[in-house]
Symmetry: C2
Subunit: 345 residues, 2 copies
């Protein structure tokens, strides 16, 4: 590729964020990018197609020290998972025209290294490409690992999933149903509750915002208790779940979205239940488990093509709408996996 | 044994307890007991020698519904673990003169069934009999199971034990040292801290009451973090520990004594660390693990006789002092395992 300076629209984080993030914390900016590849480098030049909005990104908007993720750099583009097309590559594992997913910038073009970006080559293109930000990407692997590796599920067990219509939750519920579990999900709107029951085949679902007493709500759906809780929200819901767990229950701690924008997190009061009910509560990060990704693809792609697993996405059109999409996540405005489409190809 | 009516001193729970228990919640009373054995029954008549004061007994002083333990019955004697001598037995597994340990009454004589009382026959008498309320009984098994089965410990790991000079903690620390771990304990007096360092061979120990900042205190003793936390106290200490855990750490949840007398338990705020550090936090009850008791005895008795494991008891003399001993437990007044001696034999 000859030296080429291109216009490169970007979403810049203006400053560290406190409380709920706002669109005004980010800026849509026109910059230039030199797409020529520096000699002696090992970079891959990407044209970004789909960007992923994920709850963990809230942490990266804060000033962090010694955390499991790095803060975004104010003044620079936000980074996150995305699907992209390779425009040029010095890395011999990638070639012009390849489709990939991994960490990329919130911009039209990014220059990355395959290692830092943890780039995966996309082999199967007979599925929507955006799925590689969701069911075939990080959230899919999160659901797979969290449910099968952390929850130790057995046929016939009772499973509760919070934030159940989200990128991860909708899959956990479907995996649990495939295994023959009884599955209930919670979500924050009637539309999402309908999705859970009608589209994702959950046995039951409820709108947590309409329940005055979460302990009683869970008791209603789980009169004999919960074997497995897939935790996406934290706070009051976790406290209510603890009181409703069965003996020897398991809690996979995947996320705590209800707490991310609070200056001081809510206290959890019912941890004594861990003892009386011999509960195992275990946190996990999908990044420890990517060696299972080929095995996961082998399982999930036929399920998608056979229509046994469905996936709902909420796709915002255009990079300029990415800030709104990301902010909306923390108000539960997305219905299904929140994606931003930057370019069709 | 001919029909015989004996004077039977008892400790009666007067009423359900709220807040911290007081001596006046219990009553020392003279009753009579018929020591003759009902025909057709399967009972064992016991003369109680040692009674055990254990933190879990606080729950039983409250009105409970659907808990893992049953409430005591107001107007009746308190029950708990104890060592006793068999005066008479219809159960063919026990004979007059046998020494046993299991659930018995806080009284001089009790009539029990072996099943309900989960009676174990004492075979090795070349150790202090009171040890069967502690290191050779329920607390010993609790330490053994909690450490070896729940913590998945490895040589060289860092271990923190709270309430470390108590019936369970002092053993967990010694087990961890035997395995080649670095062990730190917390306790509530200088005397206990000295015990931990000088008697139980902990690497370090500190008085949590003298630390303004528990997070900083733990950081001081664990600059590289905690692999294993043996949780006996709950509340603020748990919150501080969560911030100091290492990646892939384990928390065995054995007890939460700091919370038992609170009307509303303290909230725990740092559970998000479970995710970022991939921590497994698991509660357990010793009662699920008694099949390991013979294996435990085989391991521990030679260690006691060889002087490799030591055990400190705090023995209150006389049944009349049992209420004070039990109440003292919740103020940390006991130094080591709290026992009540009812009779030498």
């Amino acid at each position: 590729m000859a030296e080429e300076v291109m216009n490169n629209k970007q979403i810049i984080l203006k400053h560290y964020v406190e409380d709920y993030p706002k669109e005004s914390d980010m800026e849509f900016k026109n910059n230039n990018i030199k797409l020529n590849v520096p000699e002696g480098s090992n970079v891959v030049v990407l044209k970004n197609l789909y960007l992923s909005c994920d709850p963990y990104m809230r942490s990266r908007m804060s000033k962090l020290e010694g955390s499991y993720v790095q803060s975004f750099t104010p003044g620079s583009p936000i980074t996150g998972c995305g699907v992209a097309k390779v425009l040029e590559s010095v890395d011999s594992n990638f070639q012009e025209g390849d489709l990939v997913w991994g960490m990329t910038g919130w911009e039209e073009y990014s220059i990355v290294t395959a290692t830092q970006s943890a780039l995966f080559k996309i082999h199967d293109k007979n599925v929507p490409l955006s799925y590689y930000t969701g069911i075939l990407g990080m959230p899919g692997m999160t659901a797979y690992v969290g449910f099968y590796e952390i929850c130790s599920p057995k046929k016939g067990e009772t499973v509760f999933v919070s934030a159940a219509s989200g990128a991860v939750g909708q899959l956990v519920g479907q995996f649990a149903k495939m295994l023959g579990c009884y599955v209930v999900g919670s979500a924050g709107t009637k539309e999402k509750v309908d999705l859970l029951k009608n589209k994702f085949d959950f046995d039951e679902a409820f709108n947590y915002k309409e329940e005055k007493d979460l302990v009683a709500a869970l008791k209603r759906y789980f009169p004999n208790g919960i074997d497995i809780y897939f935790e996406n929200v934290g706070g009051k819901m976790l406290d209510a779940v603890l009181l409703n767990m069965k003996l020897c229950g398991r809690i996979a701690v995947c996320g705590m979205i209800s707490q991310y924008n609070l200056e001081k997190t809510e206290g959890v009061h019912n941890l004594f239940c861990l003892i009386t009910k011999r509960i195992r509560m275990e946190g996990f990060l999908v990044s420890d488990h990517y060696h299972l990704y080929p095995k996961y693809l082998e399982m999930i792609i036929p399920q998608i093509k056979g229509g046994n697993v469905v996936y709902v996405e909420d796709i915002a059109e255009g990079l300029e709408n990415a800030p709104k999409a990301l902010v909306g996540l923390f108000y539960g405005r997305n219905v299904g996996k929140q994606v931003v489409k930057v370019s069709r190809e």
